[in-house]
């Protein structure tokens, strides 16, 4: 379980301070998919970066399975599987070597790495490119490699920043099934997206973020009730306040 309480983060820029996140809080349950929905630039990536301990919030707290993300950063990172916005895989290494490298950095032994890699290769349908160097991989192959790399240590909590970004329809479908499988295994899954349909179809709990703030949250039914719209897409648009930066 992951609990975010009243997160604030401000960046210094040449034109003065910019508040990227000003008051984001929600709870993500185990065995459920929590979706962060918001237009580009709403503060989703910054929120996730604070969640996976790469950024320190100016205010507020992050607790992962009861542990404070800053007091016990290393233990928290160990329990997280993170697909950041930056997908960079090592071009001169094969997909398997990319995954193995991260397994070793998590302190796993070779047998466990092999076992978990085989499982992920199966689940993500990577068999035909797992032993190829990632140079020249398609976007989908790169994303799958990055996801397998993030999950090699079998983490209880899974954080995915725009996981379906740039993927074709078939790959997206496969990935959604994979995410539902993670949920079925009792994991706590958090994903961000600017695609309304995806969040609507996949998530048990939806957090709508706009301009660094949570404007609405709840299950799809609750969101419809809150906004008084019978259509989920209309509910999203109403919660965000505009259609800008969203995708059906």
């Amino acid at each position: 379980m992951i609990e975010l309480t009243d997160l604030h983060k401000q960046f210094k820029t040449k034109t003065g301070p910019v508040a990227a996140v000003s008051g984001v809080g929600f709870t993500a349950r185990d065995g459920a998919i929590t979706g962060l929905l918001g237009p580009n630039g709403a503060g989703k990536t910054t929120t996730l970066r604070m969640l996976y301990t790469l950024m320190k919030p100016d205010k507020g707290s992050v607790r992962v399975d009861g542990r404070d993300a800053y007091a016990e950063a290393e233990a928290v990172r160990r329990s997280l599987g993170v697909l950041p916005d930056a997908r960079g895989v090592y071009k001169r290494l094969t997909a398997r070597e990319n995954i193995t490298y991260f397994g070793r950095l998590h302190g796993m032994d070779e047998a466990a790495i092999r076992r978990n890699t085989d499982r992920l290769v199966d689940a993500l349908q990577m068999a035909d490119f797992i032993d190829r160097r990632t140079e020249g991989f398609s976007q989908g192959q790169r994303t799958k490699t990055a996801i397998a790399r993030a999950l090699v240590h079998d983490p209880k909590n899974v954080i995915l920043d725009e996981p379906t970004n740039g993927l074709d329809v078939m790959t997206t479908r496969g990935l959604r099934e994979f995410l539902l499988r993670l949920k079925g295994e009792g994991r706590c899954v958090i994903l961000s997206s600017h695609i309304m349909q995806e969040v609507g179809a996949l998530c048990d709990h939806i957090v709508v973020i706009a301009k660094g703030r949570v404007t609405a949250q709840g299950s799809p039914d609750e969101l419809r009730a809150q906004t008084g719209e019978s259509n989920l897409e209309d509910a999203f648009v109403k919660a965000i306040g505009s259609e800008e930066g969203l995708q059906a």
């Binding site: 997908r87 960079g88 490298y101 991260f102 998590h106």
Partner: protein, 393 residues
């Protein structure tokens, strides 16, 4: 997981990655071991060849007023300097570099000669031209020797012992060992070696931090539980290993090429395995200083290109002591062994001249070298812990 295991994992991955890039291996590891011997042996052969031809071959000297001093011209001919017809405009010939040196005999030469006054000859030359130095010196020497001979004859003719004119007789005893004399010829060698040590791992270390950041693989890497200090140390260790392999290959190629020289100034230079070992030890702190400094730079810039823009400046650093020593030569003092670049320069020369390096000098050197490396490591590690480092774009 232990920091050491992280370090080893990162180091192995960085090395595996770089050894898969054939072009980088050829440029970074093989090119300089191939190039330096060609440079050294080629330069030795060229210098020797030029000195030989200019010193021993016939020197054609245009003489203005040759008919005024036929005896002088005849004497020059015995020194293998043959007279050429006088040119119209001698100054122009020197300026256009058509002639290296021209001799002008003053019109009143014969008159002064007969009156036993100092007769004037003028050497026309351009002192800023390197390649005319040897011919000018040859003409000078021949003229001085003619002047001494004629002077001595004049003194004898007047019943005076010519040696009376020499109050002090100066002789020289050169105690430079043959190795040391060769060491002078090898003065450029320290720069090449220091540069190889300092920047040999540059590509790897810049790519491993600034490049990874640019290719967006640093964020996922830093989101793992592995410690940032250990990750950075692994990258530094890989670059150091790569740099040391490059140095070892370069030194071995020096050793081999010196063994094959059969003439010229480098004939008989013996780079023993002990000397190779000592040179590696001298250069090890330099490799560490170079890679930690580059890591520090790479961690503070946004792109690989920005990191690379420091290279031109960094390449000049190792040449500074050579320039300072050229302008202001100083005796070896202990403080020099604590000064980066200067210390390496002096120690490499000492190893090549087969001089003894005392335990105290080694101690000061290694402590200062590794100390600076450790300091740079600490600063780089601080930069590695900055929040912005992981965030690309």
């Amino acid at each position: 997981m232990s920091a050491f295991k992280t370090l080893a994992t990162v180091m192995l991955k960085e090395l595996a990655e770089i050894f898969r890039d054939r072009k980088i291996i050829i440029n970074g590891l093989l090119l300089s071991p191939l190039l330096f011997p060609i440079l050294i042996l080629g330069m030795g052969a060229l210098a020797e060849n030029r000195a030989k031809t200019q010193l021993e071959s016939e020197l054609k000297l245009p003489i203005i007023g040759a008919d005024i001093a036929p005896n002088l011209v005849a004497f020059l001919a015995t020194q293998n300097i043959t007279a050429e017809a006088a040119p119209e405009d001698p100054d122009a010939l020197i300026r256009t570099q058509e002639k290296d040196v021209i001799l002008r005999i003053a019109p009143d030469f014969a008159e002064d000669w007969r009156a036993s006054r100092a007769a004037t000859v003028e050497i026309v030359h351009d002192s800023s031209r390197q390649d005319s130095q040897i011919p000018v010196r040859r003409v000078e020497r021949a003229l001085q020797s003619y002047s001494r001979q004629a002077g001595a004859i004049r003194l004898i003719a007047r019943g005076i012992d010519p040696s009376l004119g020499t109050a002090v007789s100066v002789t020289y005893r050169d105690l430079a060992t043959p190795e040391a004399r060769r060491g002078m010829l090898l003065a450029f060698l320290p720069y090449l070696l220091i540069l190889t040590a300092f920047l040999g791992g540059a590509y790897l270390v810049m790519d491993a931090t600034a490049g990874e950041r640019e290719r967006q693989s640093l964020e996922p890497l830093l989101a793992t539980p592995a410690g940032r200090g250990a990750i950075m140390s692994g990258k530094i260790a890989a670059a150091c290993a790569f740099g040391m392999i490059g140095l070892l290959l370069t030194l071995l190629s020096f050793k081999l090429s010196f063994a094959f020289v059969d003439s010229g100034p480098f004939k008989g230079v013996d780079v023993s395995m002990l000397a190779v070992g000592k040179l590696l030890l001298v250069l090890l702190p330099m490799v560490l200083i170079g890679t930690t400094l580059l890591t520090l730079i790479s961690a503070s810039v946004k792109t690989l290109k920005e990191a690379q823009s420091y290279m031109a400046f960094l390449m000049l650093l190792p040449i500074l002591p050579t320039i300072i020593l050229l302008v202001n030569p100083v005796k070896n003092a202990l403080w020099m062994f604590a000064t980066p670049f200067l210390a390496q320069n002096q120690l490499i020369l000492m190893v090549l001249r087969q001089e003894t390096i005392t335990a105290q000098q080694w101690g000061v050197y290694l402590a200062a070298g590794f100390g600076l490396g450790a300091l740079l490591w600490l600063v780089a590690a601080r930069l590695y812990h900055r929040e912005q480092l992981a965030i690309s774009a």
